[in-house]
Amino acid sequence: MSHPDHTSAVCPLVLDQVQILKRDEHGVFCPLFPPLERSITPGEILTVMGPSGCGKSTLLNWISGWLKPEFKTSGDIRLGDCSLQKLAPEKRNLGLLLQDPLLFPHMTVGQNLAFGIPQSTKSRTERKDRVRAALAEAGLEGFENRHPDTLSGGQKARVALMRTLLSKPKALLLDEPFSKLDENLRDRVRHFVFEHARSESLPTLLVTHDQADAALASRYNSSPETAIVHLTPP
């Protein structure tokens, strides 16, 4: 089975009539939202909003391959022509940023970043250079040997993004990645992430509750009127 490798060109992330059913307490499967049809072109951000329990994060879990057994799905998710549904999570090549930065606490900042670099980059020098370049880009020069617990929330968020980008994903999935940051910091990190998504030409799916996230994200969409999807129970 083909899968989105690190060398293929950037391509859209397609949600083709996707729908999720959830088993309720009586064992009855109920749809979480109406069928969703969207294509996110490279560099574009699609925002998914909706009340708690409407299936936003479940949709993201499905796309990333972490759907819990109590759900059933229909439709297809594709990166370009490649269907992701049957691919194991590690073969989907989707960058994931969650509410928490989830830097591995047993690794230094440098090791966290190096952990993101694909194995195909064999040269140690090249790996080190990439880590340094990523740190410089995040404004964190000289942080290689620091441990995550010595970083501030914003610094962690930037390292998490750089780690994801170093893995050369074909699309970005963002699950409320700014929700735990301070108000004044949130805006800076938001710009940082969105700008990188655009400069790397990554189709990006953002799940959020925050109107400010959605407002900024819609500026990164070619048609702002369809930049936000509101998921509501049918």
Partner: protein
């Protein structure tokens, strides 16, 4: 290839909530996307089954190997007919009723006392600031094997033991050891004391570990705001749920106390002995005919344990009903002055006795002459240690190899089962894996005799494989129990992130999950080692005398050996598990100094 699911998605009207449930055809179309379950590693999928097979096969065959001889089927004696004569003979055995009575009284009394003291201690002091440090005091007590503590206790409470020496002759007037039965007493009180010494700290620590599930602090705060004293508050708002969560540890303690062998051999009465010891005696008789009796006795022991467990937990609701009124009687205090004093006094007595036992062993191991009634040895020497060096190295190495092998295997199997649950995105510890707790509830004498027959038929008796396998049966439940909580608590998203970065399941496991679990894994290794090191009967029966460990040697020496040699062996026997726990505390912080700090990113950027 056209995907039928997509067609359904595009052309089917959105189903209403109820119609979706009823339309099986439509429902069957909602199965295109694999859930996390579908991506779990194929080789991991076989691990729960393999673990249960490896674990349950010997137990079930062991039970069968005990059941058949108890009804007269024993090919080694050319006995193939099934009959009830063995049972008839068993019930005609003189002293059987006394043994049953003794097992019941000592087991139930020890469990009740231990549980009562543990509850009392938790109720009286859990709200105190210093309580967190109690764990550090009690944990080493758990590391000391039961039989080692029993041997030390004998040296303290025997008529020529330390307590009498401390009080004689200036207070008691005893110039010679008094003619008192303080150990191996016919009522089994010394055995009860030894069991309480070991089980109370265990139940306290188990109680501490479930405290977060009970939201203890919050509940106690509410109770205090309503005017309840800590003691009354604890018994009224914590105890009912505490008891429910403590059922498994309590069952394990009760089953163990009713069927303990090594401790009973050392400090329990001899005529009649507890049922487990009587059964072992029959089993070790040179006359093979006694094996049939031992098999029936083993099953009787199982019946005794299951019957008592059933009785205990069947009467609990009745007791709860009787006490229900006390929950709402408005009484704000329960013997607030007396109970904390009783509780503290009892705990100090237990910890103090355990400490004295170990110190007593230390003095004996270095004593050249220690005549009665001197409190300290007349002269000290290292001669016993020097003479026993070779034996200690042999026994120590055997114990270490067996302990490490059984623990590593148990950890590997537990991690494989738990990793599968993680990969399936399910909670750990579900389903048939609960069967892993069986050996904690089934008496050893019930199935180990049968297992030995299995080992003989496989040609494995007296081999390392046999002993490791038998140890694994007893280490695995503890390993699984110890790791499942840690695994369950680990943030699954770390693995999710590692996989999203393109790493394989193996890399994710070894470079992310395992380093984050290094503390519980090291602790489990030490726990498994301690459990393995303490195994007496499995080593005795699996090793058939060809493989001896510190446990088997200490227990056999305790029944009349030289006190100095007993002390030397018992000290090393106690020291190894303590060392394992010390290493388990030290190593993780050396290997991964930051691994315990889970990154929950709930911090905020300083402005």
């Amino acid at each position: 290839m056209a995907d039928p699911l997509r067609t359904v998605g595009k052309h089917t009207a959105l189903p209403s909530r109820k119609s979706a449930a009823n339309d099986q055809q439509l429902l069957s179309s909602f199965s295109g996307g694999k859930t996390a379950d579908g991506f779990a590693s194929p080789w991991l999928r076989v691990m729960p089954g393999f673990t249960l097979l490896l674990f349950l096969t010997p137990i079930l065959l062991g039970l069968l190997g005990t059941l058949l001889p108890s009804f007269g089927y024993f090919p080694a004696l050319n006995a193939y007919d099934l009959h009830l004569e063995v049972w008839q003979k068993l019930f005609d055995m003189p002293g059987l009723a006394g043994s049953i009575r003794l097992s019941l009284t000592t087991g139930i009394l020890a469990t009740t006392l231990s549980f009562f003291l543990a509850c009392l201690f938790l109720a009286a002091f859990q709200h105190r600031n210093w309580f967190a440090r109690v764990q550090a005091v009690l944990a080493p007590l758990l590391a000391i094997p039961h039989s080692a503590l029993a041997i030390g206790l004998v040296f303290v409470i025997a008529p020529s033991g330390w307590i009498v020496r401390l009080l004689s002759p200036w207070l008691t007037g005893w110039d010679l050891p008094p003619d008192l039965i303080t150990v191996q007493d016919p009522r089994g009180l010394s055995l009860v004391f030894a069991l309480v010494l070991k089980e109370t700290p265990y139940l306290i620590l188990m109680g501490l570990s479930i405290a977060p599930q009970l939201q203890q602090t919050e509940r106690m705060r509410v109770a205090a705001s309503l005017g309840y004293s800590p003691m009354a508050g604890w018994f009224k708002v914590i105890f009912p749920d505490f008891y429910r969560l403590m059922r498994l540890p309590l069952m394990a303690v009760l089953a163990f106390s009713l069927s303990v062998v090594d401790m009973a051999l050392i400090i329990g009465p001899g005529t009649p002995p507890p049922l487990s010891v009587l059964v072992l005696r029959w089993y070790l008789e040179p006359d093979l005919g006694f094996r049939l009796l031992a098999a029936a006795g083993g099953l009787l022991q199982l019946g005794l344990v299951l019957g008592t467990l059933l009785f205990w937990f069947a009467t609990s609701p009745l007791l709860a009903r009787a006490l229900r009124n006390s929950l709402t009687n408005g009484k704000r205090q329960i013997l607030e002055r007396l109970l904390p004093k009783v509780s503290m006094g009892s705990l100090l007595l237990l910890v103090g006795t355990a400490l004295l036992s170990m110190i007593s062993l230390l003095f004996w191991s270095f004593s050249k002459r220690w005549s009665y009634p001197n409190v300290l040895p007349d002269s000290l020497t290292t001669r016993t240690w020097e003479r026993q060096t070779d034996t200690l190295i042999d026994l120590g190495l055997t114990t270490i190899i067996l302990g490490l092998a059984a623990s590593c295997l148990a950890i590997a199997l537990s991690l494989a089962c738990l990793e599968l649950e993680k990969q399936r995105n399910r909670n750990s510890g579900q389903g048939s894996l609960y069967l892993l707790y069986m050996p904690l509830l089934i008496p050893q004498v019930t199935f180990l005799f049968g297992i030995q027959i299995l080992l003989i038929s496989l040609g494995l008796d007296g081999t390392w494989i046999a002993v490791i396998w038998l140890h694994l049966i007893f280490v695995l439940p503890y390993a699984f129990l110890s790791l499942s909580d840690a695994y369950h608590q680990q943030d699954n998203r770390y693995g999710q992130i590692a996989l999203s970065l393109g790493h394989t399941r193996w890399t994710t496991f070894f470079r992310v999950r395992l380093p984050l679990l290094i503390r519980p894994v090291c602790f489990t290794l030490a726990l498994g080692f301690a459990v393995s090191a303490a195994q007496y009967l499995p080593t005795l029966l699996g090793g058939t005398g060809r493989i001896t460990t510190l446990a088997t040697e200490a227990v056999s020496l305790a029944s009349g050996g030289n006190r100095r040699v007993v002390s030397v062996v018992t000290l090393l026997y106690s020291f190894l598990p303590l060392l394992a726990f010390a290493l388990a505390l030290l190593l993780p912080s050396r290997l991964y100094p930051h691994s315990s700090k889970q990154n929950h990113a709930n911090d905020h950027e300083p402005s």
